[in-house]
């Protein structure tokens, strides 16, 4: 990857920390539901409220999901322990967070990106999420608020924090890393990967250096809530550091907050001692030692990973995919919709069309995708590829299919999409030729540029019912007739 966008002679060095909420039914150390969007403080119990005498017990499924992540990232799965990370902040009622410190469950892996580059994984450890604080009154900023309100539904939700090596060299590569990691989290069933709901949160450690020089001082950027924020924040931060260093100033190691509205990072002015968390072993939890049999079971439960699933789609298309198809393949695999494409193709649907309709129309209504019947989808694609439905009509039928299910031919009939009879089409084409004699003459003289215009006029005049291939055939027929 090239360090696009950065001043000549400079290089970015980026390490990423990704927190992902695990898709368990319950929290990490208690049986409270792990659910997003529930009424505040309804999913709480003595354990996650830190009430005296309560004891945490580790969730087996959370451990398995952490092991799936470690396996998919080629990590070594090791005997591990839990520590208390102590701090004063009301988002944890215990005044500490249980995390893994010097003995994390997964260490030393790697993630291969679609462009062929590899990013090292230092560790992927288990920890509990914190509650949600809302700052009320004043300026709305943390320090300027009048008071805060806390909802502990999220306190204790299982997280895996995945820490990359400082191997990333551009904002685009950081985005590719986050995208590929997200696909893996979804493919392994470890997380739903929803950044907008905070299921996946990314922090970026960014530094710059002149090519060949030792590592520079890094800043940690927080509040990256979307892939777009990640890209913009890293680009901004690296430029800021280069400008600072070129004007002879130094970089201060600090945490910076990304302000999406203003498009810049701002110092959070944290106190030096804020990072003194006084970790010590959690006395209420014993060691977690996944034996080789458990590890083998987890490895066996993993389905094909995104890279392999993309390769299957490329194979279905046969031949080199276009750049647009590469994007479609990435997006359907990332959204876990590739099975829709493969099963439609098994039923005889044309792969390129199945891929395009899945990447666009099905993905746009992803909540309904699970209810889409493979046979009906394949039938719709056959109607479209056979010319009985135009692209516009096929999209409308597909919307109906996603909403209510049913038979595509019946839905088309209900919508009035009888395929246009040849005589009707000929009449519409003749009308368009009458209305545009100049363009018709150019077309008849062999000018290919006006073909699209004439076809477009026919589509318009037919109200989208005409089939593009049939129109082209009719135009060609008339032209050969005009030449004689």
């Amino acid at each position: 990857m090239t360090d696009t966008g950065l001043a000549q002679g400079w290089e970015m060095v980026i390490g990423l920390e990704v927190h992902c909420e695990l898709a368990t039914r319950t929290k990490l150390f208690c049986g409270c539901p792990n659910a997003f969007g529930d009424e505040p403080n309804t999913n709480v119990c003595p354990v996650c409220l830190g009430l005296p005498g309560s004891l945490p017990v580790l969730n087996r499924h959370a451990v398995e999901l952490a092991m799936r992540i470690g396996t998919a990232l080629h990590c070594e799965i090791r005997p591990s322990t839990f520590h208390r990370k102590n701090y004063f902040y009301p988002d944890m009622p215990k005044d500490f967070q249980i995390s893994q410190y010097d003995a994390p469950i997964n260490t030393g892996g790697r993630l291969e990106l679609p462009d062929g580059s590899t990013v090292g994984i230092e560790r992927a450890h288990l920890e509990e999420d914190t509650g949600k604080t809302t700052h009320i009154g004043g300026t709305g900023r943390i320090g300027g608020a009048d008071y805060a309100l806390v909802d502990y539904n999220r306190a204790g939700v299982p997280l895996v924090e995945i820490v990359s090596a400082p191997d990333v060299r551009s904002a685009a590569q950081a985005r590719a890393y986050a995208g590929e990691l997200r696909s893996i989290l979804i493919a392994t069933g470890a997380s739903d990967g929803r950044m907008e709901e905070g299921s996946m949160r990314v922090d970026a450690n960014v530094s710059v250096r002149r090519h060949g020089e030792p590592l520079g001082t890094r800043c940690e950027i927080k509040n990256l809530n979307s892939m777009r924020s990640l890209l913009r924040a890293i680009t901004f931060e690296a430029d800021r550091q280069v400008a600072q260093l070129e004007s002879g100033e130094r970089i201060v190691q600090e945490t910076r907050h990304w302000d999406e509205g203003e498009g810049r990072t701002l110092s959070m002015r944290s106190k030096e001692e804020a990072n003194d968390y006084r970790y010590f072993p959690e006395p209420d939890l014993v060691a977690l030692v996944p034996d080789s049999r458990w590890q083998a079971d987890v490895a066996a439960s993993l389905g094909p990973l995104p890279a392999a699933r993309r390769a299957i789609l490329v194979g279905l298309l046969g031949g080199e995919p276009s750049p647009a198809q590469i994007d479609q393949i990435r997006s359907v695999v990332a959204s876990d919709l590739d099975a829709i494409v493969t099963s439609a193709c098994e039923l005889g649907a044309p792969p390129a069309l199945a891929l395009a309709r899945t990447a666009n129309e099905v993905a746009a209504n992803a909540d309904r995708a699970a209810s889409l019947d493979a046979g009906s989808f394949a039938k719709l694609l056959a109607l479209e590829s056979g010319g009985e439905l135009s692209a516009t009509q096929a999209k409308e039928v597909l919307a109906g299919l996603l909403a209510n299910g049913g038979d595509p031919a019946e839905i088309a009939k209900t919508l009035g999409f009888e395929s246009m009879r040849a005589d009707d089409l000929a009449a519409v084409v003749a009308g368009v030729i009458d209305a545009h004699p100049g363009e018709w003459e150019k077309f008849a003289d062999g000018d290919p540029k006006v073909a699209g215009f004439l076809t477009g006029q026919v589509m318009k005049a037919s109200g989208g019912k005409a089939n593009g291939k049939a129109v082209a055939a009719e135009l060609a027929r008339l032209r050969s007739g005009a030449g004689t």
Binding site: G31, P40, T42
Partner: protein
């Protein structure tokens, strides 16, 4: 001190008033100068006592994470009853809008 021990017994860690003041700040404790002097002495004595364990011969033993001879204590991922929200919030010094109300927060989120 024994000769063949791979790990030398640890010395009592030195602790001075600066460290005690630092730990007190982290624990949000305000100490007077008298208290600082007194606690420094007491903590140094406690640490010296705890350091006596370093005199034991443990060269052949694996470090242990926990005194109990247990590992992999796990529960199934099955939901259990939660507490009643009104009961919980009634125990808090202040609540508002079904949430715990806390004083404004200085400094940053960890």
């Amino acid at each position: 001190m024994s000769g063949g021990d791979a790990r030398p017994p640890s010395k009592p860690p030195a602790i001075g008033p600066e460290q005690v003041a630092h730990v007190a700040r982290l624990a949000r404790l305000e100490l007077s100068d008298d208290e600082l002097t007194r606690f420094t002495g007491q903590l140094a004595a406690a640490l010296a006592y705890a350091a006596e364990i370093g005199e034991l011969e443990v060269g052949d033993l694996e470090p242990m994470a926990h005194p109990l001879p247990l590992q992999n204590v796990l529960r199934d991922d099955e939901p259990e009853p939660t507490l009643d929200r009104d009961t919980v919030l009634a125990e808090a010094p202040a609540a508002e809008d079904h949430r715990f109300r806390v004083p404004r927060i200085l400094g940053d989120e960890p």
